[in-house]
């Protein structure tokens, strides 16, 4: 048999788990290759600022990373019309079958490897047909000439672009799979339905949200779901209710979900009793002369209102204390008692947030598996495994701490009294005015002013840290046992250890996850300091103001004049 090159056409089908299955189809007649090229491209980030540019290599590009281009003719096929029908079978890549996605080719034929080594190993190397155009020039002997663009199909079992040492995390996948399981109880990845394009956004200040798609309609509005990632099959990364289910024009369905804590918004803090006047719902404090409720007692009372009318069998419990301050009757970080809580007109979640976030400066979280309520400053400590959870990129976010660092601070309270953080001559020094929504004695005012001035001098930078796909073990509020990045400029300082007292001592601060975005191709954390300065604790009652309130005083002045009856004379 003479040496020749042929194409074996392959058909791609989508399997039930989303993976591609290639099956062999027909083999083409022999081809003459006139032109061939294969281009492979790197994916890098180039920072061309400063005296020396910096190149950050990521690896080989995914989409379009390796492209082959062929120009050739089919041997022996010309204008002979009796043969045209057969050529259509090879050249027509549009088919009716909806399961088929596309065509690929692999090289075959006697000694094909010697004739066309550029396209890899015959029978093994596969290329996806990205574009196939053909023409026939009647005047030039009528040969069928084709122009084909091929995309390389990377074989996941072969580590063909391995450039780095083992153990530095380059074996992690670029895309990971997610699934969603229906139901309020715990489930796992295998029991769920595969979903795609997931995006889970978690933030410390609001309920978590998730969006994802499915190829056909599977869920409906109001369904309770857990979302799992294939890298951690038994721990959910999201637990919530589907708020909106949309059918798209391409047959897929999109879903918007909100965290399970939203069910607490549907129960009011009210006793629905008969009668014209509804009773006020109030948790008094002190409840007996001299006896004050602790923080966790308050929270249990609020959660009991929900517990007596559960929705969809969701049980968040009475609150797990992550702050260490649960047994204290004081507002954390101060000597004031927690005030009586007036709950009328609020739903359970609003009442909870009002107490925990606005008054105590803490955060609330809901466990992703059980939905149990947790509250505190810092959640769990997480240790990074550097072989799989390495930092892909770090970007410093602009600091939110204010326009400038004043030399001193003036703090005024509700009565218009004020104190300065710095005594003595303040000529030539910059200042900022803050107002606190309470009344304090002079000594307390001065102490607070000093605390504010110190808080403003601290560097409250936040960083956006990207991790590879499938890094799902961090949650909003978690702190890192050790994190830093020396490879960026300015350096993200290494903070390790444990923050034992987040409200009083900034020297043992660690990095805390403020916001987290998980998608199927990356995980991104916004991290900030775990130290809770006075600005965080009194975030709602302490505000910078543009001008100080003018102190007015009334004074009664008595004159000794008497008014006598006037005399009128003519």
């Amino acid at each position: 048999m003479s040496d020749e090159i042929r194409f074996r056409f392959l058909k791609e089908e989508k399997g039930a788990d989303g993976s591609s299955i290639w099956s062999s189809g027909v083999t083409s007649p022999p081809v003459n290759i006139e032109d061939v090229s294969v281009t492979t491209q790197a994916l890098t980030q180039i920072i061309s600022e400063g005296p020396t540019p910096k190149i950050i290599p990521y690896g080989v590009k995914g989409d379009g990373g390796r492209v082959a281009s062929l120009v050739g003719t089919f041997s022996g096929y010309s204008m002979d019309t009796s043969q045209n029908v057969q050529m259509d079978e090879y050249l027509d890549v549009l088919q009716d079958d909806p399961k088929l996605v596309g065509y690929g080719i692999s090289i075959t034929g006697t000694n094909a490897k010697l004739l066309l080594p550029e396209l890899g190993i015959p029978g093994e190397t596969r290329w996806r047909i990205e574009q196939f155009s053909w023409d026939r020039a009647a005047r030039q002997l009528g040969q069928w000439k084709f122009n084909i663009t091929l995309g390389y199909i990377w074989d996941a079992t072969k580590n063909e672009i391995k450039l780095y040492d083992d153990g530095i995390g380059t074996n992690t996948k670029e895309h990971v799979k997610f699934s969603a399981a229906l139901g309020i109880g715990r489930s796992n990845f295998a029991a769920g339905t595969p979903i795609y394009s997931p995006k889970i956004t978690t933030t410390m200040h609001d309920l978590n949200r998730a969006t994802f798609k499915t190829p056909t309609t599977i869920f409906s509005r109001g369904d309770i779901i857990h979302i799992y990632c294939e890298t951690d099959k038994y721990k959910a990364i999201f637990f919530g209710e589907i708020r909106e289910a949309k059918n798209n024009s391409d047959g897929t369905s999109s879903y918007d979900c909100v965290e399970i804590g939203t069910l607490l918004q549907r129960v009011p803090c009210a006793k629905m009793a008969a009668g014209l006047f509804k009773p006020k719902i109030k948790i008094p404090n002190p409840y007996k002369k001299g006896t004050y409720y602790s923080l966790n007692a308050f929270i249990s009372k609020i959660m009991r209102i929900y517990a007596s009318s559960q929705i969809k069998e969701y049980d968040p419990g009475m609150g797990v204390d992550k702050s260490g301050n649960g047994n204290s009757p004081y507002i954390p970080g101060s000597e004031q008692y927690i005030p009586a809580q007036l709950l009328s007109g609020m739903n359970v979640l609003a009442a909870l947030d009002n107490l925990v976030e606005k008054q105590c400066g803490m955060h609330t979280w809901f466990d992703n598996d059980t939905g149990k309520l947790e509250y505190g400053y810092l959640r769990d400590i997480k240790t990074i495994n550097p072989t799989t959870e390495y930092i892909v990129n770090t970007v410093k976010e602009s600091s939110l701490s204010g326009d400038f660092e004043p030399d001193y601070v003036i703090l005024c309270d509700n009565n218009g009294y004020y104190a300065r953080s710095m005594e003595g001559d303040v000529r030539g020094k910059s200042y900022m005015v803050y107002k606190i929504d309470t009344t304090l004695v002079d000594a307390q005012l001065r102490e607070r002013a000093i605390q504010i001035a110190n808080a403003l001098k601290r560097d409250a930078s936040t960083y956006v840290v990207s991790f590879p796909a499938g890094t799902v073990k961090f949650r909003d509020g978690d702190v890192f046992a050790g994190l830093g990045d020396q490879t960026v400029d300015p350096v993200m300082e290494w903070r390790g250890g444990e923050d034992t007292d987040p409200t009083s001592n900034p020297t043992d601060e660690v990095w805390q996850v403020r916001e987290l975005i998980i998608t199927d191709s990356y995980t991104q954390c916004i991290v900030g300091s775990s130290y809770y300065s006075i600005l965080d604790i009194f975030q709602n009652s302490l505000k910078p103001v543009a001008e100080m309130p003018v102190l007015t005083e009334t004074k009664d002045v008595t004159t000794n004049n008497r008014v006598v009856a006037p005399t009128v004379s003519e």
């Binding site: 294969v38 790197a42 600022e49 950050i56 550029e118 890899g120 450039l163 490879t487």
Partner: protein
């Protein structure tokens, strides 16, 4: 973040790979700056360009890889370094190349592979040609 002095994706393990001798037909080196310009909108305002930095030096090499009939022999030298030993894997993108040459002194130094292209055409059927685009690598190689 460094762990055991390795910075993950942003560092190289320093494993030495294969040595290639390549035949160069054409070599061009480009040095480019990155600047920002402020145009003049009036007769009294002078236009300005502010230098921000420089782009990495880029070198583009075109030449001959090998003859079609010698491909197997050519790839033998790489068989210990490549799990898929094919022509398109002769130069791996993002790998570092240390160049040395007496008649092409531009190539001396450390480079990172950006694009590697192999090609063959009707006019020169028997030669596998290549194009290689390299960016200069400014950092040290971690041993």
């Amino acid at each position: 973040m460094t762990h055991l002095n390795k910075s993950g994706n942003k560092g190289f393990g320093g494993t030495t790979g294969a040595t290639h001798t390549i035949y160069v037909y054409n070599i061009t080196e480009t040095k480019q700056i990155k600047k920002q310009g402020i145009s003049s909108y009036s007769q009294t305002v002078i236009p300005q360009t502010i230098l921000q930095g420089r782009q990495p030096d880029t070198i583009k090499i075109e030449g001959k890889l090998c003859k079609v009939s010698e491909v197997t022999q050519y790839l033998n030298a790489l068989s210990g370094y490549r799990s898929v030993n094919t022509l398109y894997n002769v130069f791996l993108p993002c790998s570092i190349l240390i160049g040395s040459s007496t008649n092409c002194p531009e190539i001396n130094g450390n480079w990172i592979v950006d694009t590697f292209k192999i090609k063959r055409n009707l006019q020169k059927r028997d030669l596998v040609l290549f194009e290689l685009v390299l960016n200069k690598w400014y950092e040290a190689l971690v041993a």
